[in-house]
Amino acid sequence: MNRILIDKDQFIALKKDSELTIKNDSVLTLVIEENIDLVFNIEKVKTDIYVYAVDKSLSVTINANKEKSICNFYYSNINYDDNKYQINVYHKAPKSEVNLYNHGVNVENNKLLYDVTSKVPKDNKECITNQDNRIINIKDGKSTIRPILLIDNYDISSSHSAYIGKFDDDVMFYLTSRGISVSKAYELLLKGFLVHADPEGITEFMDELSKI
């Protein structure tokens, strides 16, 4: 397994299983090029992690190791074949915060599974753990989301949401009522749905996005 130390903003393309330890406040952008396992160790920092994947299965572990560590994790993927995304979040310190934004687009009639688990043990008070899980089916794909919160402490702030479906017809009406074509409206919505930060550096992902 690759071991990578992150101490500043970085852009990395990954082909192998990797363990990333984040030591300083940073913004990390990852492009996933193979089906791999990733482990993130979040030390006493605030980090935003953006992960982009096209047609890949991915397994992720996030260890919030230190008190007051904050991780905002954005996973964006485009799927044409059957794929699985599994993520486990472990709050290993009190007052740690992990917010997940898992957004996928299921383009063809394939299967896409999101298995999302956040765990807070009894010892760790005042943690914040949130999940926002959404899959847009462009055709009639079979998508599944399993949002799981395993919380063994009363003093926790937590929320989860799961949506599988198409873009709202009323949203499409709003956009087209301004003269935007249906295809352009889809392009705008897909970009808003999948790209959470400056798209510079993820040109291949953006190219893939424009083909949907």
Partner: protein, 253 residues
């Protein structure tokens, strides 16, 4: 400019009758008002004019600049110059207001000069006293009710339509914001004197700031009475019930 000819409108899902033998003509440069109590089909009318998928016109026709628009998509109607400020504008996560407007303008006019676009956007935001950071936030997300209405008017000022429907513009606006928004619309109408407007409202308050040429009262899916601005004042003092009573008395005779 807009002629609605004897239309019957039903819901697409369950065939429920919404408008029956409804007619209305709005010449260019005129401001017309449709007033009526809740649930008579006022907002539905704006959606029907824009071609919303939830409604179907089963009889009659809608003409814009003398051509039927019934077979036109919502996008095509907007490109022809129709615009509605929505009663409850949608929040769209991830789509920035500025990017949304740039896309709309590009679709309408082809190439957009980025410098001119940014200037027109900044000017419109300034005129509406909107925080410029709102232009770069997700469309209507976390906007207050008043901010959403200002965002609608900002879109209008940038996209420059020829026919404007103001659907319950005053709801969600405090009095100062209402005055400001109406001033912006009046300024737009001064600069674009051929533009026609249809105001849809419950209350005559907005008519203190945007002066209409004609007022129509919509009840039971039909226009029951039309008149000048004084009709709105009558409604303010007597309510919609008085219109029903007059009509019932006429029918009885």
């Amino acid at each position: 400019m807009l002629e609605i000819k004897n239309i019957t409108v039903k819901t697409t899902d369950d065939n429920k009758l919404i408008l029956d033998k409804f007619s209305l003509t709005i010449p260019k440069g005129e401001i017309h008002v449709i007033m009526g109590p809740n649930g008579v089909g006022k907002s539905t009318l704006s959606k029907v004019i824009m071609g919303n998928y939830k409604y179907k016109v089963t009889k009659g026709d809608i003409l814009f600049k003398k051509k039927s628009i019934l077979d036109k998509s919502t996008e095509e109607r907007a490109k022809l110059g129709l615009f509605v400020t929505m009663q409850d504008p949608m929040a769209i996560d991830g789509v920035k207001l500025s990017e949304f407007l740039k896309t709309a303008l590009r679709e309408k006019e082809g190439d957009v000069n980025l410098y001119d676009f940014i200037n027109s956007l900044d000017d419109a935001a300034h005129d509406l006293k909107m925080d410029p950071s709102m232009l770069h936030r997700s469309l209507n997300k976390s906007f207050s009710g008043g901010e959403r209405k200002k965002s609608e008017v900002l879109q209008l000022k940038v996209l420059k339509p020829e026919f404007i429907i103001l659907d319950e513009l005053d709801s969600g606006l405090d009095i100062d914001s209402l005055k400001l928004v109406c001033k912006n619309i009046n300024d737009y109408l001064k600069e674009n004197s051929d533009t026609a407007v249809l105001i849809i409202t419950h209350y005559p308050r907005i008519l203190e700031y945007i002066k209409p040429d004609r007022v129509h009262i919509l009840l039971d899916g039909q226009i029951k009475k039309s008149g000048d601005r004084k009709l709105a004042e009558e409604i303010e003092s007597s309510g919609y019930l008085s219109i029903n009573e007059v009509e019932e008395a006429k029918n009885y005779e």
